[in-house]
Symmetry: C2
Subunit: 226 residues, 2 copies
């Protein structure tokens, strides 16, 4: 389903080149539950952004269901992102002045879903993450952990086949974190692919495959067989 | 040093009143190391903002070194914040287009520190949090954990007597988290008061006093005597 071969990426900063990913290769089959871990600055978010079709790469190849992503137009990429991928950003990326409900409705607007269905699905998604009582709060009227949960609800509302979550429990207390992980586990058991970045061993333990990234390279890629 | 008596706060949202803190009382002596923990949405950040003189409260009293905070002018509050308190925000609040060095220099500019000394102190603060190689990156050219560390460096650069840190390790891997906690521990041992919000038991374990907040009330306030 997802095939990365020797993907490299560097940022240019004035005269300096900052290498960030150095020849990353990995294959992801449908229905896998993968945790990506590694030190701060090792390239995890950059890798997630490339997987989520949000950022380009400099060399190597990325094939998505056999199609070379570098040959796709911006519209094709936007369509794929909207229909196939739910992305939870590390820093949430909510629209501050819109309320939680509106923020979660946005991907459904993009997908052309009608008003009544859109509202209903957004309400369900917010209830699933425990925010039924906060739907009318704007993003700036929510706590850190509540904003994170709006970002999760927004990623799930289109019922995507692939969920990419960059640190989805970083701002959550342990009870709420476990509720969110139980939700992701249920979605994974129903067939969805879940790829999550985490710093916490307890959260990584929900996955059946662990990838350890360091200095832009995969140093460990372990699929448990139990 | 800090004395809160029956402090309450509510937000007004259209016709609804959202109570957030309900009669919070606590005394903080100089040199304490306090961890504040509790569920998402329980009022921790609101409490930190009030302690840090960033937000007002509706009823009760807050005395800072014996002075009633509600009688202070905005200028007096701003002066106190700049000179006595270093605040690490849960969502960092960096200036995206300024580089790390400039972001860290800002409190020193406000304090009237000269250019050469300001630059030197900002560089030291960034080195202390492991970002010596990233000083020229803008906030948007940094990873989540790097941005968090810039926010920490900025809070420490004025050498404040009170450090208030809202989830300072939320975006950090465990090695980097322990480096940051060791730094806060050293600062505490040199006499600084450290008040930190955390969801992680391992991080709370560095403190000698734990306060548990739930639904806007202190449910536990425990000072260990070892
Ligand atoms: N400007 C606001 N208007 C209305 N309600 C608000 C506002 N800011 C915060 N709240 C509400 O106040 C409550 C407490 O928020 P606060 O940010 O203090 O929680 P917290 O304990 O820091 O949570 P977290 O662990 O998720 O960061 C939340 O339920 C939140 O929805
Ligand atoms: N736009 C950019 N320009 C230059 N360097 C960048 C840019 N974005 C990221 N970087 C650098 O790339 C490296 C990897 O960043 P990335 O955000 O992928 O790390 P990460 O593993 O997600 O870290 P964290 O755990 O702290 O979130 C970092 O060292 C960062 O400074
Ligand atoms: Mg990251
Ligand atoms: Mg908070």
């Amino acid at each position: 389903m997802i095939s990365l071969q020797g993907v490299s990426k560097a940022y240019k900063l004035g005269d300096t080149i900052v290498p960030v990913l150095r020849g990353v290769s990995l294959e992801i089959a449908p229905g896998q539950f993968i945790a990506i871990t590694g030190p701060s600055g090792s390239g995890k978010s950059t890798l997630m952004n490339i997987l989520g079709l949000l950022e380009s790469y400099d060399s190597g190849s990325y094939r998505f269901w056999g199609h070379d992503v570098s040959t796709m137009t911006d519209d094709q990429l936007a369509g794929l992102r909207n229909q196939r991928i739910g992305f939870v950003f590390q820093l949430f990326n909510l629209i501050p002045r819109l309320n939680a409900l509106r923020n979660v409705e946005i991907p459904l607007m993009y997908a052309g879903v009608g008003t009544a269905e859109r509202r209903h699905r957004a309400q369900i998604a917010l209830q699933l993450v425990g925010l039924g009582e906060r739907m009318d709060h704007t993003a700036s009227q929510l706590s850190g952990g509540q904003q994170q949960r709006v970002a999760i609800a927004r990623a799930l509302v289109t019922d995507p086949e692939i969920i990419i979550a960059d640190e989805p429990t970083g701002s959550l207390d342990s009870q709420t974190s476990h509720d969110i992980m139980a939700l992701l586990q249920t979605l994974n058991q129903s067939g969805k692919t879940v790829i999550l970045v985490t710093h916490e061993d307890e959260i990584a333990a929900y996955a059946s495959r662990i990838i350890y990234l360091r200095d832009g390279e995969i140093r460990l890629d372990h699929q448990s067989t139990t």
